[in-house]
Amino acid sequence: MHQEFLMGNEAIAMGAIAAGVNLVAGYPGTPSTEVLETVAKHRPQDTYVEWSINEKTAMEVGAGAAYAGARVMVTMKQVGLNVATDPLMSLEYIGVKGGMVVLVADDPGPISSQTEQDTRHFSRFSKLPCFDPSTVQEAYDMIQDAFEYSEKYKTPVFLRSTTRVSHGYASIQVKDEAEYNKNLPEGFIKDTKRWVIFPRLSYQAHINIEARNVALSQEFSSYDKNRILYADSNRFPKKGIATGGFNYTYVSEALKALGEVKLLKVSTPHPFPEALALSFLTGLDEVICIEELDPVIERELIYIAGKYQLPVKIYGKLTMDVKNSGENTLDSVMENLTKFLGVNPPETSALTEADKAEMPELPVRPPVLCAGCPHRASFYAVKQAMKGKKTLFAGDIGCYTMGNAMPLDMVDTCLCMGAGLGIAQGIDHIEPDTSCFAFVGDSTFFAAAIPGVINAVYNQANMTLVVLDNSTTAMTGHQPHPGTGQTMMGDVVNKISIEKILKGIGLAFVETVNPLDHNKSVETVKRAAALPGVKAIIFKSPCIAIVKSDKCLSVDHDKCINCRKCIREIGCPALVLRDERVVIDDSLCTGCGLCSQICPVQAIGGEQHE
């Protein structure tokens, strides 16, 4: 054992390596991405790692390897689990041979997601066991436990993390390489009764799963990460707090100021450790449940209290004593607990309530496309080309969702990965006089958009597909994908061409253009929009965060007429006002040249180097 300073996601990765993981597959998504990246960086020679094209494929690749006896980890964010649901729900019945952990990172808030869904619920729905670590150390330890349980019960299991565990850092105890587990896969052994799903097999498997989960609930009651703490608290002998996952740390922090209260810490929300919970509830009058996303622990405790007819009141999200959406904070949990215990919160802040009321209005900073981002130029070209026409701009998931911000205002809809294509077609069928556009990034194109294109061509839709190809998966921190010609194993492979795919599907109009050439881009959009059927424009220009630029433009104040068209039209963060004049912030500008093509008097130019 030795000490290392790791991010939660790095700890999960190093724990998986220590458990002897043989294969890791996943799809990037905040806050899960760093898990797979860390395995790739530190992988032992014979560990295979891939970014799959989407979560469904990752799950299937993982299943195959686990059938062959490999230890497998599949990684994704919570909405990615929706994509992987189809194979996972069947895999529940088939089971695995090698240990298989499905790492899902939930995002209370949500901070960078479409939904506040709760994987603990998903684990009840799929009947698969779920581990829910509270700290970086627990994440490291529990991924290893998860592999053991998975192998023992021949079932995939969840390791559910949340943003604050995944992205928190801590100095933790980790194993030395000599202590790592080694797993040599036995190989796939043919057995149709085991690996081919049929109704009869599923019926039998269902019986086994229900029995297994009863046994697991028992076993989890003595699992050392599920615990009753401060059982002899005499300050509040009739009150208790139930919590789990990261919220345990909020509660434990608050109790340092408030004193000890009997506490149930749940690290396996499913199957729920019923016997342990029963012993916690016995003798208590009131319990408050502190958890994020859904009231999972709360409902389990209400069920157990009902089943054993315990006279205990359970408070939480269902009773509106804890907020039922958004992220908890140390402050919100402190407020919940002081109210529940009937005590006063400690007063330590430098600012009084009166001070806070005097606070000046704070600058509002919605996330925006970076200075010099080629997406800005693409959106602006389409906007200019379609000025005055009836249009629909369906957006998608990625950096380019931020094309919704003023002044671009170019995202009318955004639902989930790849949905923009279907939405554009649906609106086209109902409103044929609307010119419908679907914007999709290159990584999203491979992950989720190809069936939508085929559907549009087959079903004779009229729409324009705009592929924003910046040669990376930018939003999640620049992962490679099939169009980049690199894999996570470090191989250089043939790039899969988006243009060829689209031509292969049979689109009549497919053109690639550099969005930073404004006039040519506008002209291309106009030609495409005028044609019937399904057309595609590929705006190709690399993400400025990868291809660093040392160029920078400036405003010539002798020429500038201070009309501020540059700021008004494109909203580049490098264009700022100083003493009532437009200036370019040299720490941000990449010299992309879009503003210089917009300025009516050619006041913007130069290519200063720093």
Binding site: T30, I111, A170, A350, P360, L362, P363, P367, M402, I567
Partner: protein
């Protein structure tokens, strides 16, 4: 000893590197460290923070309101945003250079941070404000804001780390070609 430290600013300003230097320095001294920071969409020009907790006994990487020993602000408005985290008698280090949000530029506003700095000075006793823009020009680099703020934090005594700790971590974590510049910034900060 335990210290609760908050760094804040706008995505891209380098708060994360500064936070890594502090945690590295603390780890070198054998202190336990926990931290949490903004990752993801907000990094693109949004408000960002790092919470750092040095010393044993912290379960949670986050810091509660009224519990920060020191706030190191890379931008005046962002510093005000997080001021409720400061404990009584806490220390503030702030860069006076404002970062204008796109929304403000669009609205034709002349946000320049001065209102924010006035508020901080009025409400907090221990404040060190640094005109980083001027110092950067003087030292000929825009990449030293980090070290200027860190240097001032060390000098204030509220960080629980000394100059030697920071020098050591610079040698450990930063490419050699930037060492001299960073040491110069650190030196400069001592005399502010």
């Amino acid at each position: 000893m335990s210290k609760n430290i908050i760094l804040c600013g706008v995505g891209g300003q380098g708060t994360i590197l500064a936070s890594k230097l502090i945690s590295g320095a603390a780890m070198n001294k054998g202190m336990a460290v926990k931290s949490a920071e903004t990752i993801g969409m907000a990094q693109r020009g949004g408000s960002v923070f790092s919470h750092l907790r040095l010393g044993e006994g912290a379960d949670c990487p986050m810091i509660a309101s009224g519990c920060a020993d020191i706030i190191i602000g890379f931008e005046p408005g962002e510093t005000v945003r997080l001021l409720p985290y400061l404990k009584k008698e806490g220390q503030v280090i702030v860069s006076t250079r404002p970062v204008m949000p796109v929304t403000a530029a669009l609205a034709g506003s002349d946000y320049n941070g001065s209102e924010m700095l006035d508020y901080i000075r009025k409400k907090v006793k221990r404040v060190i404000a640094i005109d980083t823009e001027r110092v950067c020009r003087e030292l000929g680099s825009t990449k030293i804001v980090n070290l200027l703020l860190l240097g001032a934090a060390v000098k204030s005594g509220a960080l629980g780390l000394d100059e030697e700790d920071i020098r050591k971590v610079i040698l450990d974590r930063i490419p050699p070609k930037f060492h001299e510049l960073n040491f110069k910034a650190l030196e400069y900060a001592k005399n502010i």
